[in-house]
């Protein structure tokens, strides 16, 4: 592993395990793709909350309990159910509990890793609505990791597109959807099947082997615009217009 992670100006990779533990949950919270397996089946919901609060703050049990109840109720779950076990909740409810757990310490960054992928579409929309509301209510930043471009268009302000372990494009959501600069982003957008799809498009070939990734631009074997330079030189991330970056040798052609 190499590189740096800056959070509020501090490099997290330099932190001791102990310091890192304090940041987790307190400043950076994480919710996951599969809420069904993320809660300890042997612990009541309440104990998940109390444990987390006590791990970070020295508050009285009464206060911790009050805060736990408030967090749960704010997600639309009856406070008496705080004494239930995880298996007594449905998938959507468990994801709400996970969000409540993530927010009880009021973190400034919430990372949501495919938070709705395992849920049905209506529940997915409910959860996305909650996440958007929270972002405003808590003045919190949200890092949403997803493969679903529809969700990106609906929820996000800025978008980073990754391909084969490399950042290929970064910009505002309008830039990305209306003027994609990287051929991969273009292909990705074209291949989405949505209600107005008239014709199917797909990106030729298949994702590369990451043990021996392609030379130069990792996308070149599947790129219809590829030139000899693409196989030789790794394209740098260039700011083609204010706030809109792409890692393509010919990015300016698509402006």
């Amino acid at each position: 592993m190499s590189g740096k992670i800056f959070f509020r100006g501090r490099d997290l990779t330099q932190l001791s395990n102990q310091m890192y533990r304090r940041i987790r949950g307190e400043e950076i919270a994480l919710i996951f793709q599969d809420p069904m397996t993320r809660l300890n089946p042997l612990m009541r919901i309440q104990d998940h909350f109390l444990e987390e609060i006590h791990a970070h703050e020295s508050v009285s049990s009464t206060e911790a309990r009050t805060r736990a109840r408030e967090a749960l109720v704010s997600m639309g779950i009856h406070e008496t159910r705080i004494r239930n076990y995880p298996h007594e909740f449905s998938g959507g409810m468990r994801q709400r509990i996970m969000i409540a757990l993530a927010l009880v310490l009021k973190p400034s960054l919430l990372i949501a890793d495919e938070p709705t992928t395992s849920l049905d579409v209506i529940v997915e929309a409910q959860i996305l609505e909650i996440l958007q509301d929270l972002k405003e209510a808590y003045h919190m930043s949200l890092l949403l990791i997803t493969h679903n471009l529809g969700i990106v268009a609906e929820v996000c302000d800025r978008v980073a597109v990754l391909y084969a372990g490399k950042l290929v494009e970064l910009g505002s959501v309008r830039d990305i959807f209306h003027k994609p600069l990287h051929p991969y982003t273009q292909g990705l957008l074209a291949s989405v099947i949505h209600l107005e799809t008239k014709e199917l498009h797909s990106i030729e070939g298949s994702p590369p082997d990451l043990i021996a990734p392609p030379s130069g631009c990792r996308f070149h074997p599947r790129c219809s615009y590829a030139q000899p330079i693409c196989t030789e030189r790794i394209p740098p991330l260039v700011e083609f217009e204010p706030g809109h970056f792409a890692a393509c040798h010919f990015g300016d052609k698509f402006l």
Binding site: R21, R24, N40, L42, E52, H56, N84, Y85, S90
Partner: protein, 342 residues
């Protein structure tokens, strides 16, 4: 939406469900003793008694009746707690149940001692092994688990006797008690009885005698704990909810104890039920090695002296204990795992 139900309801139902198992075990004992070829009475007397005595004994025990009638009599007798009277030399004419109840505490004391040794050693080695995956300590402890598990318990007993009794003289090699008059019978467990009487000296003697047999049996059983605790810890330390707890900043020690270890324990408890079979089989051998006067010794003596009702009685009591323990294990499981009951 499932709601967590009462543990009592679960326990009662589970108890009810144990009846078929009990009936099957009783039937097996019946089939083995009376139906399969081979005349148990003749085999037990082994030609040492004249034919008319054998015939009289058969009649006295109701063994000349048709099988179905024998079966009904037998099940009815067992269910009413009437296990008959002994026909062997040592206990002739005594109530089988009474004799067994007299020997039972010795076996129970040995079993408890062994279980304590096994769980302490087994869980400790299992945790060390499971949290140090593929390091030298893990490999060594896995070898320990595999090897100790297949060591003949009676041979291990002999070796421990050679070292600690004959060689070092730290512990007595034989019997449950010696030197002083044994404590008054209250529970029948010498360690408990001596404490109840407030006699620390007797307690020490009892413990001294208990150490080697418990250690022998416990060591052999510990291999099982080492292996299962390790395997389940490996599974739970990488579980999704453990990763989620880490992401919430829960301290590592707490994660191991409350998430990984407790969750790993559930399957261990489940298979623990099957370990009682090994425990009691091992106890019979250990009793013999240490002249520990319990149910196992009683069974061997009864087989030797052709005491047919006593043999049947001892096996039936073992079956009852096994069934009861399987219920207890399931209830304990319900106690720690809320998903089991509702």
């Amino acid at each position: 939406m499932p709601k967590t139900g009462s543990l009592a309801a679960y326990a009662v139902t589970r108890l009810f469900l144990s009846l078929p198992m009990l009936l099957i075990l009783l039937t097996i004992v019946f089939v083995v003793l009376r139906v399969i070829p081979g005349d148990p009475i003749a085999a037990l007397f082994a030609g040492r008694a004249p034919p008319d005595v054998v015939a009289a004994t058969r009649h006295q025990l109701g063994l000349d009746l048709p099988y179905w009638q024998q079966y009904i009599n037998y099940v009815a007798a067992v269910l009413t707690g009437n296990l008959g009277t002994s026909i062997g030399e040592s206990y002739h004419g005594k109530s089988v149940l009474f004799v067994i109840l007299d020997k039972l505490p010795a076996t129970v004391e040995l079993a408890i001692g062994a279980m304590i040794v096994a769980s302490i050693i087994g869980i400790a080695t299992g945790v060390v092994s499971g949290t140090n995956r593929d390091k030298p300590s893990d490999v060594a402890l896995r070898l320990y688990g595999t090897i100790i598990f297949v060591i003949p318990v009676f041979w291990l007993g002999q070796i421990l006797q050679l070292i600690f009794a004959v060689g070092l003289g730290w512990f007595p090699a034989q019997l449950r008690f010696s030197g002083l008059p044994s404590p008054n019978q209250i529970t029948g467990l010498y360690t408990v009885d001596s404490l109840l009487q407030g006699r620390l000296d007797l307690f020490l003697v009892a413990v001294q005698h208990l150490v080697l047999p418990s250690l022998t049996l416990g060591l052999v059983l510990s291999g099982f704990f080492t292996k299962t605790v390790r395997a389940n810890l490996l599974r739970t330390v990488n579980a999704d909810y453990v990763e989620a707890a880490r992401a919430r900043g829960i301290p590592e020690g707490r994660i191991i104890s409350r998430y990984a270890f407790k969750n790993a324990l559930i399957p261990v408890v489940t298979v623990l039920g099957l370990q009682f079979a090994i425990l009691f089989a091992g106890a019979v051998l250990t009793e013999r090695t240490f002249s520990w006067d319990g149910m196992g010794m009683l069974l061997l003596k009864s087989i030797d002296s052709a005491d047919y009702p006593m043999v049947q009685g001892v096996i039936v009591i073992y079956a009852l204990i096994i069934v009861a323990l399987s219920v207890v294990i399931d209830v304990i499981n319900g106690l720690i795992d809320p998903r089991v009951r509702y």
